[in-house]
Subunit: 140 residues, 2 copies
């Protein structure tokens, strides 16, 4: 993938997540927040802020990877709805949230961002979910 | 487009927006909220809830249309950041928000949903923005 060597993950994203591995375009991260099963995809190209900073081919690949992440979460979690979002209001590096929502989760009908404080996973639960997601996404 | 005849727009989306026209897949709506220049894309196929309810071809087309909407907003508005999201926490029909954000807009670093009440456009401003967006998107 061109420019991958000069990609560096935003330190805030690195701090808040567990790395699951790399899809062809995106690094896949598991948000360390037991309130919601929550993946973040970060395209491994330098200096991306907006979806439209990716070329057409990159946008198409990103959509394929978003769908893979969404299907993996739907398979593994008992979710009622998926949320997909590229916001970037606080972390500018382009990243896409793919979140499994339940009607009875702490955010309810609200968006998850800023609603309740993140709740770190217990190690065993984190490892179990990370393992299931890696398997569903074909990551090692 | 298959199944388009049986597509009906969710009444809540219809009520909150001004229709701008149809791209090949999506109906394009302007949110009637002067706080933020805010487009909504609604794929015109029946019974869609999740992005992954679209087939691969529909997903690819939707990404192209998201990028068109994002570029149109970036051209026309003095925005600092774009937000792109398919949430569906309150309206289940699949719809994608494409929102032009400014650092000094009413939501600041927060997401727009539920942050401040919508502020309807004055008719002249609504028509000016709708016209500029239709032109940028090639809609009639």
């Amino acid at each position: 993938m061109p420019d991958e060597a000069s990609f560096t993950l935003d330190p805030r994203l690195a701090q808040d997540t567990v790395p699951l591995g790399n899809l062809p375009l995106s690094r896949v991260l598991l948000m360390n927040d037991a309130n919601y099963p929550w993946l973040i995809l970060v395209p491994r190209r330098p200096n991306l802020v907006e979806l439209i900073d990716l070329d057409n081919s990159g946008q198409a690949t990103l959509m394929i990877e978003i769908a893979q992440a969404a299907r993996a979460l739907k398979e593994i979690t008992a979710c009622d709805k998926l949320n997909v979002a590229a916001l970037g209001n606080t972390v500018r590096q382009l990243h896409v949230h793919v979140i499994a929502r339940r009607k009875d989760d702490p955010a309810g009908a609200r968006p998850v961002w800023g609603t309740v404080p993140a709740q770190a996973y217990a190690a065993a639960e984190r490892d179990r979910l990370a393992g299931a997601l890696r398997a569903a996404l074909g990551l090692r």
